[in-house]
């Protein structure tokens, strides 16, 4: 046999082996081709991070800074009002010059632009650069927090990626309880320890009435659950809670579920060294008062401080075991810097995925077998050649998917089988051409040569057009459709190789030039 041909045969066998190895499951890699969410079951979420929350917080803090610094200098009290997320208005009492305040702003509010309104108030607007950086930090922080939580849930191979438009795309394969996972991801989990003023009441107004006059501006009225003597929930009540937040969830070292005195689950916390110091100072100075444990602006409980506590604390509430363990999980993984809004969700239950695979594979097998039967019937000997090329195409396609870690989706299965249908096109083009050349009276070898070389340009053109549409499909598609586009692209490249190179080599091996073959089965 021609040395050139031997080389090619070796190359083809090498490719064959390499790709077969790629698709064989091993103990390290039990699933060489990743199944997409639609086949495996799982959840795909697109969340918007409401970065406005974080910007608003920054604005409130800036207003607060202005007020406290003015207080330190014994300047007349300035009143502030937030105009929108990124700006606030500071009004000084009638007849007081704003010059002192402007100096303060220069020192403490460097990230803010100030303009004077016609009424003589100062309008502070956050600089665009700092707003952008806050927004970016918020997204990064949110991604990290979500990743912590998802990892804590034990989801394998999650994808958590920021996207334009303040969005985060979250893909959680194999998740079988989407409601719980969404709750865990979306919980802001801002934990605060704040002192209670006055006494709780049945509505906001009566609660505020119990607060001393000079404290009225320094408290928030927050909702909590009223309990009877046995700790059972019997309604809501309102607490007046100091605005000052001495200890927060970031001071926690750990949180876990434990059992209360009556065996009911609650969440135990331990503090970081710094947190313990702060918590000790807070409890030590306020023995006898009530300390509210506030989670996401809701009072979970407000126990009396019996003595100075440093190392640990307990969050009590009407938790079920599952709720308590989920709360411990979100506290351990930190709070979200801003709330999240669901923009898109696609969840496939595991049993639907199983049905889809069964049907998809069955349909593809039947289609494939029908295809092979048709080709063999029509082309006889050369049909075997085409079928071999087709099988190799399938192996390359699956092997490439394994190498590239592409995901197999349901449209992807359709894509594979369709690609094979199109791969046949290349063989048909060549074979029809060979038949034509034979009809014109060429010898078998010349017909093979001419058939392949004449069909080449056409094959490239037909593949290019499909590649163009596959690229658009990839660019615009989401999830499963993208998977389909990838499958299609890989398949197209494989089909040029198999239909043009492999099938040519097979002809060269079967109809050797030196044998001067006079008949060909085609």
């Amino acid at each position: 046999m021609n040395r050139n041909v031997i080389w090619k045969v070796v190359l083809i066998l090498g490719v064959l082996v390499a790709f077969i190895v790629a698709v064989i499951p091993t103990s390290n890699n039990p699933e060489p081709i990743k199944r997409g969410l639609d086949l495996k079951g799982g959840t795909h979420l697109v969340m918007r991070v409401n970065v406005g929350d974080a910007v608003r917080l920054e604005t409130d803090q800036a207003a607060e800074t202005l007020k406290t610094q003015a207080q330190k200098l014994n300047l007349p009290t300035v009143t502030t009002r937030r105009v929108n997320d990124a700006s606030f208005l500071a009004t000084v009492p009638q007849g007081v010059s704003t010059a002192d305040y402007e100096r303060l702003a220069k020192d403490y509010l460097g990230a803010w632009d100030m303009t004077r309104t016609p009424e003589g108030a100062m309008l502070f607007k956050m600089k665009t650069a700092s707003q952008t950086s806050i927004e970016r930090d918020t997204i990064d922080h949110a991604v990290e927090t979500i990743r912590n939580r998802v990892d804590a849930l034990g989801v394998t191979e999650p994808i958590i990626a920021p996207e334009s438009g303040n969005r985060i795309v979250i893909q959680l394969p194999g998740v079988d309880d989407p409601a719980r996972v969404k709750d865990i991801i979306k919980t802001t989990a801002v934990l605060q320890f704040r002192l209670v003023e006055g006494s709780p009441g049945a509505d906001a107004a009566s609660t505020l009435a119990t607060v001393p006059e000079n404290m009225k501006n320094d408290v928030d009225i927050l909702q909590g659950t009223r309990e009877d003597e046995l700790g059972r929930p019997v309604g809501v009540e309102y607490y007046a809670i100091r605005k000052n937040v001495p200890v927060t969830g970031t001071d926690l070292k750990n949180a876990r579920v434990q059992k209360g005195q009556l065996g009911q689950p609650n969440v135990g916390m331990s503090f970081t060294p710094d947190g313990a110091r702060k918590f000790g100072a807070l409890t030590g100075a306020n023995v006898g008062r009530r300390l509210a444990i506030v989670l996401d602006n809701k009072v979970m409980s407000a126990p009396n401080i019996k003595s100075k506590i440093e190392d640990s604390g307990v969050i009590e509430g009407q938790f079920t075991q599952a709720q308590a363990s989920d709360l411990a999980l979100v506290l351990r993984s930190g709070s979200l810097p801003a709330s999240l809004t669901t923009l898109e969700e696609r969840t496939v239950g595991p049993s639907l995925g199983r049905d889809s695979i069964r049907q998809g594979v069955l349909a593809s097998l039947i289609g494939f077998i029908a295809l092979i039967a048709a080709v063999l019937l029509y082309y006889h000997g050369a049909g075997i050649n085409a079928v071999l090329a087709l099988l190799l195409n399938l192996i390359i396609l699956l092997g490439m998917m394994a190498y590239f870690k592409a995901t197999l989706t349901l449209p992807g299965i359709a894509g594979i089988i369709l690609t094979l249908g199109m791969a046949i096109d290349s063989n048909v083009l060549v074979f029809e051409r060979i038949r034509e050349e034979l009809r014109e009276g060429k010898t078998v070898r010349a017909a093979i040569e001419q058939g392949f070389s004449r069909a080449f340009g056409t094959i490239i053109d037909t593949h290019m057009t499909t590649i163009i549409s596959a690229l658009f499909l990839f660019q615009f598609g989401t999830g499963p459709i993208k998977g389909f586009a990838v499958t299609l692209l890989i398949g197209l490249f494989a089909s040029v190789f198999t239909a043009f190179f492999v099938s040519r080599v097979i002809f060269d091996v079967v109809y050797k030039p030196e044998d001067r073959p006079s008949t060909i089965s085609i």
Binding site: D177, Q321, A363, A414, D425, T465, I468
Partner: protein, 405 residues
């Protein structure tokens, strides 16, 4: 076996009838859209789709009473006891599907009032694993090994559920390998079989829906133009234009079909349209490749009509065979592929057939009209080597000589 050898069909003759037929087909499709409106799927319209499978007969009346704004229909065969619930988009972002499922879980499962009981048909592995670990019926302790022991047991129970669809009897749960009598007693006490299991839930908010709509339109328009541009570069402007008309025709014919069956316009359908754009043009490329090749060895004067007829007859068997093989595959997908890809496969089938049909009818019609309007420049009287329609590669080269070993 050979078919369509040395055919001499006069395709050109049929072109006006074909154009008329296509127009009528598209107009009928348009009339359907006009009457029924576009059946936008959840991807574009937004809202929620929920597919549930029930343990017993589907409580259709209860569902309808409970979810007044939703459309509820049977999903799959009646014996699968599944429903598809479609909720319209309410003009705001939110977890539509999640809220509806939560409501149904509460309304259809009286047992769910007890917060200490787990719905074993709805909740996942972790809940069951947590329950078993915290009650520890098999006395494994509280170490990591015990955690893993119960985790694996819970996973087996969920696998069993996926396999059977949903549990209809508690004995299915307790007979899962590895579940001991002690576990079974805890499961019997602390879990219940909910009325349904979740097969699929999707929520698309208004913002994402709008974006997907825009992206879909752009993808189809741009890929059509890209295709035309590519063929203009490879061949000539007449053909580039004819190709665009051909693609638009194939897409419209497929869309008309979608309108006739009142199919749902979803992302999968857009994917199918994009594929049609890329694939249906193949026949046309093959034909025109042949026209170009024939021109090079032309011996006597030939009008464009004759050139096209010749090329179409020469490539006819290839056209039929290739389309045929794709059609075989698509029919298999339509019959056996299941609900999810059913409409996708149908649209592709129509698109592929339209592509083959337009190659022998619409493309010649457009090319001939173009030729007539531009002074019949494409009627050739001898071999051409015009750079405009010449392939960059030399064709006359002798096949490479091989050295025998």
């Amino acid at each position: 076996m050979q078919i369509f050898v040395d055919t001499k069909y006069d395709f050109i003759k049929w072109r006006f009838a074909a154009v008329a037929f296509s127009l009528v087909w598209i107009l009928i499709g348009a009339a359907f859209y006009f009457r029924n409106g576009i059946n936008w799927g959840i991807d574009f319209a937004g809202g929620a789709n929920i597919v549930l499978r029930f343990k017993d007969a589907v409580p259709m009346d209860k569902l309808r009473a409970d979810l007044t704004d939703a459309s509820i229909q049977q999903y799959g065969k009646p014996e699968e006891r599944s429903v598809l619930i479609r909720q319209p988009q309410l003009g705001r972002e939110g977890d539509y599907a999640g809220q509806t499922v939560a409501k149904l879980l509460k309304d259809l499962n009286p047992e769910s009032a007890d917060p200490n009981k787990i719905d074993i048909n709805y909740h996942g592995r972790d809940r069951i694993s947590d329950l078993l670990f915290s009650t520890d019926p098999d006395r494994k302790g509280t170490n990591e090994a015990a955690k893993k022991y119960y985790f694996d047991m819970a996973q087996n129970i969920i696998n069993k559920r996926s396999e059977v669809g949903l549990f209809t009897n508690m004995s299915q749960v307790t007979s899962v390998p590895g579940v001991t009598a002690a576990d079974a007693s805890v499961l019997n006490q602390r879990t219940f079989l909910g009325a349904f299991t979740l097969l699929n839930q999707e929520t698309v908010g208004p913002q994402v829906g709008r974006e997907l709509q825009m992206k879909a339109v752009w993808a189809v328009v741009l890929s059509t133009l890209a295709m035309g541009a590519y063929l203009w570069l490879r061949f000539d402007i007449m053909f580039g234009f004819a190709a665009i008309v051909c693609i638009v025709h194939d897409v419209l014919v497929s869309l008309a079909f979608l309108g006739m069956i009142h199919g749902e316009f979803s992302l999968n359908i857009v994917a199918a349209l994009l594929l049609i754009v890329g694939y249906s043009i193949n026949d046309t490329v093959v034909t025109y490749d042949r026209v170009r090749e024939n021109r090079r060895k032309l011996k006597q004067r030939m009008t464009l009509e004759e050139q096209l007829n010749l090329a179409m007859n020469q490539t006819l068997s290839r056209t039929i065979l290739t389309s045929g093989s794709v059609v075989i595959v698509l029919i298999a997908l339509i019959i056996f592929g299941g609900k999810v890809i059913h409409e996708f496969a149908w649209i592709l089938l129509i698109g592929v057939l339209a592509g083959t049909y337009s190659t022998v009818t619409i493309v010649p019609a457009v090319a001939i009209a173009w030729n007539n309007l531009t002074g019949r420049k494409h009627d050739i009287s001898g071999p051409t080597r015009s750079a405009r329609i010449e392939e960059p590669r030399s064709e006359t080269r002798e096949p490479r000589k091989r050295k025998a070993v």
